[in-house]
């Protein structure tokens, strides 16, 4: 499989071993995370990852509606991934589609592994992921943002989930594929990783890889996740400092 034919003016890997945007194969796009960006949400986070811009908001744990979805022993982590109509070059038709349903499902499953759902029976933890600008790797950016937003909301969890992708383009295994590499490349392996326990909570692959290439992709993606994890932690530390200042200024009795 060679993927979509590459336009003549795009060179996924040049003679110096540099990618379309000038990165080395093992180099990630710059990532910036901010926690607590929304006032009305219980927890929120904003992630800028290369040209991706993703907002995540957490509401709850709160009463689960419709009630027939309630689990009497644990909370439900319900993710809603949505791409804004203006997030891509050609206008995306608004509303849920097959792809966003899939990403919502896998993100919910990844987060359910780390959240102590048994502490909040019959409730729902609602996670809304809004992609404001997409440039390949939005499911990883969404999961990364959702994890920070959950921690910001004070939801008890075993560890943060960090996420990063690796893949193959121009017959080279590379980390954190950009848009051109994703569109015209040969394979993509997004990974969700829990650094403390070294568990993988999300693993997908499209395209074809040899066993060695797959192993290398997974290794590179996990290395990427570890870098993302550090950024997530720094974002929460910064948020905590801001909150401590707020707490002092806040009048008593009115929160």
């Amino acid at each position: 499989m060679g993927g979509t034919p590459i336009p003549n003016d795009i060179k996924l890997l040049d003679e110096n071993g540099k990618r379309v945007d000038g990165r080395r194969p093992d180099e990630m796009r710059p990532i910036k995370i901010e926690a607590g960006v929304l006032n009305k949400a219980d927890g929120s986070a904003y992630v800028e990852w290369g040209l991706n811009k993703v907002l995540a908001a957490v509401y709850g744990p709160r009463e689960c509606h419709p009630r027939h979805l309630q689990n009497t022993t644990r909370a439900l982590v319900q993710c809603h991934y949505n791409m804004a109509a203006f997030s891509v070059d050609d206008r995306k038709r608004p509303g849920p589609d097959r792809r966003s349903h899939e990403i919502s499902k896998i993100t919910s499953e990844a987060l359910t592994h780390v959240v102590f759902t048994e502490y909040f029976p019959r409730t729902s933890i609602d996670v809304y992921i809004e992609v404001l600008q997409a440039n390949a790797g939005t499911r990883c950016a969404g999961l990364t943002a959702a994890s920070v937003a959950l921690a910001d909301a004070g939801v008890p969890m075993r560890d943060l989930v960090a996420s990063c992708a690796a893949g193959k383009a121009a017959d080279t295994v590379m980390v954190d594929l950009g848009k051109e590499e994703d569109n015209f490349g040969q394979a993509d392996v997004p990974v969700g990783y829990v650094p403390r326990t070294e568990e993988i909570v999300l693993l997908q692959m499209d395209g074809e890889l040899t066993h060695d290439e797959y192993t290398l992709s997974l290794k590179m993606a996990i290395e990427g996740c570890k870098k993302v994890y550090e950024e997530q932690r720094n974002a929460l530390k910064r948020r905590y400092q801001v909150r401590s200042v707020d707490a002092v200024e806040e009048p008593k009795g009115v929160a």
Partner: protein, 195 residues
């Protein structure tokens, strides 16, 4: 509560905070493989007297407990009880994270004898109440001067009722109604979201 043992150390989920041989895992922590880890963002509290490691959260999810003061909407009344939906805990910005369906038994509405719960509470009333049981079902009481109805609507025309002596008065249909009133009827302040 005074935390003499607050360490001042900020922890994040997944941070190792203690060894299970030394401390018991408390709120905001969990035990795995003989070690205690933080499960939330907050300040670490290692209580030497209780031998408990806990994390003090800035904005924890609200789980109702005995003694909590809450605001509740009365959704229905039966002779023996009023059924309510808890909407918020007093002084807290967050919504309730535990069961919100609650009831006030007729004997817990007021300190005096009440024949029928519908005599003093009606559907649509907003009440301030105290939790007297959180598990297995939420039970509230409106007994006491500060507890009871803080906003009521006319049962005929749904106009907000005004206080007139010990009763309530509807200015539109010009009739009075009785409720178990709180001392600050329609003068209360709900929690304001922070901006």
């Amino acid at each position: 509560m005074i935390y003499l043992s607050r360490t001042g150390r900020k922890v994040l989920p997944g941070d190792e905070v203690a060894i299970a041989e030394e401390y018991i895992s408390g709120e905001g922590t969990y035990e795995a493989d003989g070690r205690i880890y933080a499960s939330a963002v907050g300040e670490l509290d290692l209580d030497m007297s209780e031998k408990t490691a806990r994390v003090i959260l800035e904005n924890p999810p609200i789980v109702l407990m005995d003694g909590d003061v809450v605001f509740a909407d009365v959704t229905d009344t039966k002779p023996a009880m009023a059924i309510c939906s808890v909407v918020a805990q007093e002084g807290k910005k967050r919504s309730i994270s535990s069961e919100t369906l609650a009831s006030v038994h007729v004997s817990k509405i007021a300190s005096s004898y009440v024949e029928d719960a519908g005599d003093l509470l009606r559907a649509g009333d907003l009440v301030r109440a105290q939790v007297i049981q959180a598990e297995p079902s939420v039970q509230l009481t409106t007994s006491g001067p500060h507890f009871g109805v803080i906003r009521a609507l006319c049962t005929v025309c749904r106009t907000p009722l005004e206080r007139k002596g010990r009763d309530l008065w509807c200015t539109r249909c010009e009739h009075d109604e009785r409720r178990k009133l709180a001392d600050d009827y329609r003068e209360f302040e709900l929690a304001k979201p922070k901006h």
